[in-house]
């Protein structure tokens, strides 16, 4: 016997929301990326939970794919932040609005 799936989902969703909130309110790029990881982690939780619910490894497999993406994303994101820092001597995201319409 294990916890109900609703708990897992709730947790997953809550973590995701924390991440998303952080993503929205933080101003520096590093924190943003961190919050992004949190969001992905939240999603993963749902995968693993469902995997357990159905006793099917598919969810876990998806978990793998997600962390692959997460790893790539953070690596590239950090490289971008480094370049951005070289450029602007700052990691504040409101400095990065060259695409302003």
């Amino acid at each position: 016997m294990s916890a109900p799936i609703a708990y897992v989902l709730f947790l997953s969703f809550a973590v995701f929301c924390f991440g998303a909130c952080g993503f929205l309110i933080r101003k520096n790029a590093l924190s943003l990326l961190i919050c992004l990881e949190l969001m992905l982690s939240g999603v993963n939780m749902a995968f693993v939970g469902f995997s357990r619910l159905h006793q099917n490894e598919g969810g876990n497999v998806l978990y793998f794919l997600v962390i692959t993406v997460a790893a790539c994303e953070s690596a590239i994101g950090l490289a971008l932040i480094l370049n951005f820092f070289r450029l602007k001597k700052s990691v504040r995201l409101d400095e990065a609005r060259a695409l302003e319409g």
Partner: protein, 183 residues
Amino acid sequence: MLQQSLFIIMAALVLLTAGLVAFRPRPIESAMWLILNFFFTAGLYVLLGSHFVAVIQILVYAGAIMVLFVFVILLLNLDPKELGDETSLHWSSVVMFVGMLSFLLLILHVAGPQTLEPMEGLLPDSKFGSVEALAQKLLTDYVWGFELAGVILLLAIVGVGMLAYRKPKPKTPKFLDHQERPV
């Protein structure tokens, strides 16, 4: 029973650390809390029976990705001023957070009461969560996804290389005045 209470404790810890990640002002703190969060998450996965996933959570997230973060944070070694951690869009995010959570509850409600029943236990000889079972799935049904993930990783490696690479300044041979330049 034990498992459920463990689960709730773990979940509370996960939530707590997640909140700290989201709202602590400095990135290094966020990062540290996130690492902790990952540990608790891994514990949760263990409780859910996915041992391998739990280990991978630590290996990849805590051991690799977050190291990178910490590494970059201390490489930049920023002043609090530069970090600019006064938050923006505060009210909207809070509103949304509450909205989302209530929506979640609604959806759970809609999905039906069976979601609130504990999940069925694993069979004693279940291979669930083991490397073998996962590998079986990964290399048969999901082999294309697996390969694709490999390609994405390769692309990320190349991409990061490209981004980080700075052309070394060409070395210009210096000649003293009295020396003749090679023709």
